[in-house]
Symmetry: C2
């Protein structure tokens, strides 16, 4: 199996979206530029959602335009794939205006979470996704799918694996080139990962699946290891462990990019990302946000195990 | 392979020893009593070391006597194995006075760490261990061995696996019923665990090995999972993640007992330990120490994944 890993840095979107403090336009630009200098090849930089609901993501059109300009000038490497979250046709119109070449749709595996998080049922959300998908296809824009609460829901408890499998298949059938399967509230252990991936990989190839773990209960790197066994090679993470799920009490954030990179390098995977630079960005982000971020490697420092 | 797990709670010794704030006699008694009520069956409660060097461990004779009295009265379950660290013959004399029925010797796999941590070479430490062992055998006291810095040393870097294997063999040959192999500075990933355990299990049975991980870089639960694959079923942890290595900059503590128990329960292992009680003890300990402890489950709360 391949040793090549893809990391999708979700800090500027999934991370910042869940932070109390809103970073201004220039700070976001600086953060994305810094991340782009570490060797990361995929970065989610914004969301075309209502600024009333998610003030942290307001100004995403301007942000994307400025970032794409920097990329066209070579100030951000041209081989970095940037993307934005798009909840519906309205958001997709903004995405088209911005010039972004990849968008992500965001669904849930739990009905209650879907209603509380995106204000519609799962079935309704897929009608919206279909609209987004048609517009994206027409404009030759890549679409990534997210499925949150794939292991547990803060309202409903355990989530049925069959539903996750059905939704993964639906997203792929619809045209998503990859589905990011998320343990939104950080409850899975490798046993659940094994059980779910075994079933998911009946309807998708390992290359179509990304895993998105939260380190809420310290299990995320163990879950990454379990996923690697299945040939999954794409993982979402956020710098410093930025973010977290606002609907989960006491939840720490996403798996930190530094921790993920440390693990994968230590295990001999091909991860050409500068860990020291990541640690510096984590510190910079802490200063900007005025709070300590939960990443472990960011605190302890790197160490050359190999 | 068996689903039965043994957890060695090292918070009252390894944990408190590395805390700035010293808990008084009564607080230690209370902590140990609380831990004994969770279902934990092995607890390391003190160390017979010089109070000049380790003030946190002073009064261990009185502590052990009071705890054993409570145990003889049934206020602490009689089937709980209590133990203390013993560095040399002088400490072993104290152990004998205290009435403890299990002791632990503590060595390192790195020469520099041995000198800085226990003030002698590895060879010299083994001469001391032999004296302790002879006294212990005569008095029918069980001896557990610790080998610290088995994956990395803060002074020497990577540690040779052959040395770890040689020292594990030496401790077992000497009479240790179990050797706890420690990633003292928390640098290992499952790749290193796999590589080392494969070799260690040429000289020891899985039942003779305990793994002692630190969550310094977030990898400890992944390393626990890797160890389980080899049949290792005994793990050290400390309540709340108490402690940490004072010689490792920015190091967070031992693997937290709550995090370990959450993982193992989630994976279907036989761990009859009350997670909610552990979380309450973590909070109590934080109040006593006046600092937040790093455990993840202690912060986020348990969740019934199965």
């Amino acid at each position: 199996m391949s040793k090549k890993i893809q990391i999708v840095e979700v800090g500027p979107r999934d991370g910042l979206q869940n932070e109390k403090k809103v970073l201004d336009h220039n700070a976001k630009i600086e953060l994305i530029k810094k991340l782009a200098e570490t060797g990361l090849k995929r970065i989610e930089i914004g969301a075309f959602v209502s600024p009333t609901w998610v003030p942290q993501m307001s100004g995403s059109i301007e942000l994307v335009r400025d970032i794409l300009k920097l990329q066209s000038q070579g100030a951000i490497a041209r081989n970095i794939q940037l993307s934005c979250l798009v909840p519906n046709a309205r958001g997709m119109e903004d995405a088209l205006k911005s010039g972004i070449t990849e968008v992500a749709i965001f669904g849930a595996c739990s009905e209650t979470f879907s209603k509380k998080n995106i204000n519609c049922s799962i079935a309704e959300s897929f009608i919206r996704f279909r609209q987004v998908m048609e517009m994206a296809k027409y404009h030759k824009i890549k679409v990534r799918g997210y499925l949150s609460t794939a292991f547990g829901c803060p309202y409903e408890g355990k989530v049925a694996e069959t539903r996750v499998v059905r939704l993964v298949r639906a997203m792929i059938k619809m045209g998503a080139y990859e589905v990011s399967v998320g343990d939104t509230i950080g409850v899975a252990t490798p046993k659940q990962v094994n059980s779910l991936l075994k079933k998911v990989l009946h309807v998708a190839k390992p290359g179509q699946i990304a895993m998105h773990y939260h380190d809420t209960r310290g299990t995320s790197l163990a879950n990454v290891c379990a996923s690697l066994e299945f040939g999954v090679r794409t993982f979402d993470s956020s710098i410093g462990g930025l973010g977290g799920c606002p609907y989960a009490k006491g939840a720490t954030g996403n798996l930190a990019t530094e921790d993920l990179v440390y693990l994968l390098k230590g295990m001999g995977y091909d991860v050409p990302i500068d860990l020291e630079k990541l640690i510096q960005i984590k510190k910079w982000t802490e200063e900007k946000l005025g709070r300590e971020l939960p990443s472990r490697v960011g605190k302890a420092g790197a160490w050359n195990i190999e």
